[in-house]
């Protein structure tokens, strides 16, 4: 008798479990890989955001190969997931597989990068506006220096890459109205720490350390390298030469805590949060989100408790 009751209770419990499982959303996430700290953080944050919302996230790491991403998307379709997140490794070649997802009525949301396919084939794309990032950095500098004359040196990203072009453009737009701020030198530091240091050394030699008022680097890594160069030249980064850069990786917060860097603009790894929100709205009442959802480009300065942010960022797997 007791055994029977237990069995019945067990059955009932498992049935409720099953029904709650049926209600829970399943979302597939095809990630490029883990080639950079930022990408690893994006994966971590996506998992956290899914967990927060009670979404069952199916994660597939493509190891930088498009064929693996196509396979993963097909498997997600076969599995009948409720939605698919895709961070595409290249822009081309997605038409057929996106069409297949569309026919199965599974919405696809692009994260962080775009594809060349027709806009009808995906629900929306979540990403950062690179020009806007440059603008935020430029605006910070304009507010910081006030009326003071300011000669800026710029460390560009890899020549011809879209972040380098757009972050330069945004910064220039922001300082266009401030006649006291001039970019005196601009060269590529290839997004790397070593190259950033090397190019900054040549800037310091060519211009003389006293005449440079600020450094704008297209990413934090180059800024960290340049800070080293400034210190070796006997100057104080952060006060003698202001340092502003983009990305908000953990190391720049350490430099900010030490007073050696002034500001950074965050390229947020949280692309999934806005994506899940748009998805929830779409599934609730069919609200079509805009085709591009811009993430916030948040400015961090020394006033934002850099050590605390550093600890937070470290735990995200950068």
């Amino acid at each position: 008798m007791i055994a029977k009751t237990l069995l019945g209770a067990g059955l009932l419990a498992s049935m409720t479990l099953l029904s709650s499982a049926a209600l829970a959303q399943t979302v597939g996430f095809s990630q490029i890989g883990s080639e950079s700290g930022w990408r690893a953080a994006e994966t971590t944050v996506t998992r956290q955001e899914a967990e927060k919302r009670g979404i069952d996230l199916k994660f597939a790491d493509a190891q930088q190969k498009q064929e693996n991403q196509i396979k993963a998307i097909r498997s997600f379709v076969a599995q009948g997931v409720d939605a698919i997140l895709l961070a595409p490794v290249v822009a081309t070649g997605w038409d057929a597989v996106l069409q297949e997802a569309k026919e199965a009525e599974i919405p696809v949301i692009l994260l962080d990068r775009m594809v060349d396919s027709d806009k009808d084939l995906y629900l929306t794309a979540v990403g950062s506006d690179l020009v806007h990032e440059g603008e935020v950095a430029g605006k910070w500098l304009v507010d910081e220096v006030g009326d003071r004359e300011c000669n800026v040196v710029e460390l560009q990203g890899t020549t011809g890459s879209s972040p380098a072009i757009d972050r330069k453009k945004g910064f220039e737009q922001a300082i266009a109205d401030a006649s006291n701020i001039k970019i005196v030198r601009s060269q590529t530091g290839d997004f790397t720490r070593a190259k950033g240091k090397e190019v900054m050394e040549s800037f310091l030699k060519a211009e003389g350390g006293d005449t440079i008022c600020a450094l704008y680097a297209h990413n934090d890594d180059m800024a960290v390298g340049a800070i080293q160069a400034i210190k070796e030249a006997g100057l104080k980064p952060g006060s003698d030469i202001l340092v502003v850069s983009i990305d908000a990786v953990p190391d720049i917060f350490q430099a900010m805590a030490a007073g050696e860097a002034n500001a950074t603009v965050e390229l947020t790894p949280n692309m999934a949060g806005p994506a899940f929100d748009a998805l929830a709205k779409y599934q609730a009442d069919g609200t079509e989100p805009p085709k591009f959802i811009q993430t916030e480009s948040k400015l961090y300065t020394q006033a934002d408790d850099p050590m605390k942010v550093y600890e937070e960022k470290k735990s995200q797997g950068y």
Partner: protein
């Protein structure tokens, strides 16, 4: 029972057992959708693995195929972008190039008596380099013919799709099975794998057969490149890095002896399907690292090599026992 059948049977058993395990955990795995995906996703690997089976059966190796696939994709994409030629003549031209490329490697291997490993390694760098010279960017292919091929599929009951490229792979396997097990050329390939000296004594035209084997591998790598270009609608010089190693793994897991002389083309198909199945399982599970695919394939490879070695020892012992008796 013929002990040479054992590795093949082991492959089939592993595939069936693995599929049942997957099905018990995820009932959706046993759907025509997944089966269609296995065929479509495995198409380019399967086609090139047929060529690899012949090469390995003959006791050789062909490391160039992954690069040849990438070269083929870029070649087709560039030709379609820069000229108004229809894709079909472009395909014919491409297949002629890759076949000649394979034949040239076969000729060098035979005439200069060089190890296939070195010659095809050179071929690998050459083909990859040529792909880069044509273009370093990923070139999209937009042609009505491509759109047509991508929509050419047979909708199986249960919404699974048997695509044209999946069907192409099956056709290549049927042709490969017939060629290996029913023709004089096939018999020559097996004989060559048993040892060049004995093959020569048996009257096998060693030079001609070697050239033909690598030409066939080049032809199928070209075909695989075309299939891959349909798969991604683009040509990209960085694509399919390491596919030659996946193909070798599929051949060995399929029960072909890595030293040559024994094996089945049909086993290679199962080998390709096993690799696809592992990947599908990992995606369905969604929490495992995708690198487990490589770990499991590595473990399977090791198991098969040990199995083959054991079988070889047993047959050798039997033979010596017979001589002694």
């Amino acid at each position: 029972m013929n002990p040479r059948l054992l590795p093949f049977l082991a492959t089939v058993v592993i595939f069936v057992v693995a599929y049942v395990i997957c099905w018990l955990q995820f009932p959706a795995m046993l759907s025509t959708r997944v089966i269609g995906n296995l065929l479509t996703d495995g198409a380019f690997l399967g086609i090139v693995a047929v060529g690899m089976t012949f090469v390995i059966l003959s006791g050789g190796i062909d490391l160039s195929v992954g690069s040849v696939i990438a070269f083929s994709g870029v070649f087709v994409a560039v030709m379609l972008r820069d000229t108004g030629i229809h894709p079909v003549p472009v395909f014919v031209l491409l297949l002629a190039i890759t076949t000649a490329f394979g034949a040239a490697m076969g000729l060098i291997i035979h005439v200069l008596q060089m190890p296939p490993f070195i010659v095809t390694l050179a071929g690998m760098f050459l083909a990859r380099g040529m792909a880069y010279v044509l273009s370093v960017d990923s070139i999209p292919i937009a042609h009505p013919f491509y759109d047509w091929v991508q929509t050419a599929y047979w909708l199986m009951p249960g919404k699974g799709r048997l695509t044209l490229i999946g069907a192409t792979m099956l056709a290549v396997f049927v042709a490969g099975i017939l060629l290996a097990h029913r023709t004089r050329f096939g018999a020559n390939v097996f004989a060559l794998g048993g040892g060049v000296q004995t093959a020569r004594l048996m009257g096998v035209p060693v030079g001609r057969t070697t050239v033909l084997i690598y030409a066939l591998s080049g032809l199928l790598a070209g075909l695989s490149g075309i299939v891959f270009s349909f798969y991604t609608s683009a040509g990209y010089s960085l694509a399919t890095v390491g596919v030659e190693l996946d193909a070798i793994a599929a051949v060995v897991i399929g029960g072909t002896l890595l030293t040559g002389g024994s094996g089945f083309v049909a086993g290679t198909l199962i080998g390709v399907l096993i690799m696809g199945l592992i990947q599908t399982y990992i995606t369905f599970d969604g929490t495992l690292s995708s690198w487990w695919t490589k770990i499991i394939i590595g473990a399977l490879l090791l198991a098969f090599i040990v199995l083959q070695k054991a079988l070889l020892d047993i047959t050798a012992k039997r033979a010596s026992a017979r001589e002694a008796g």
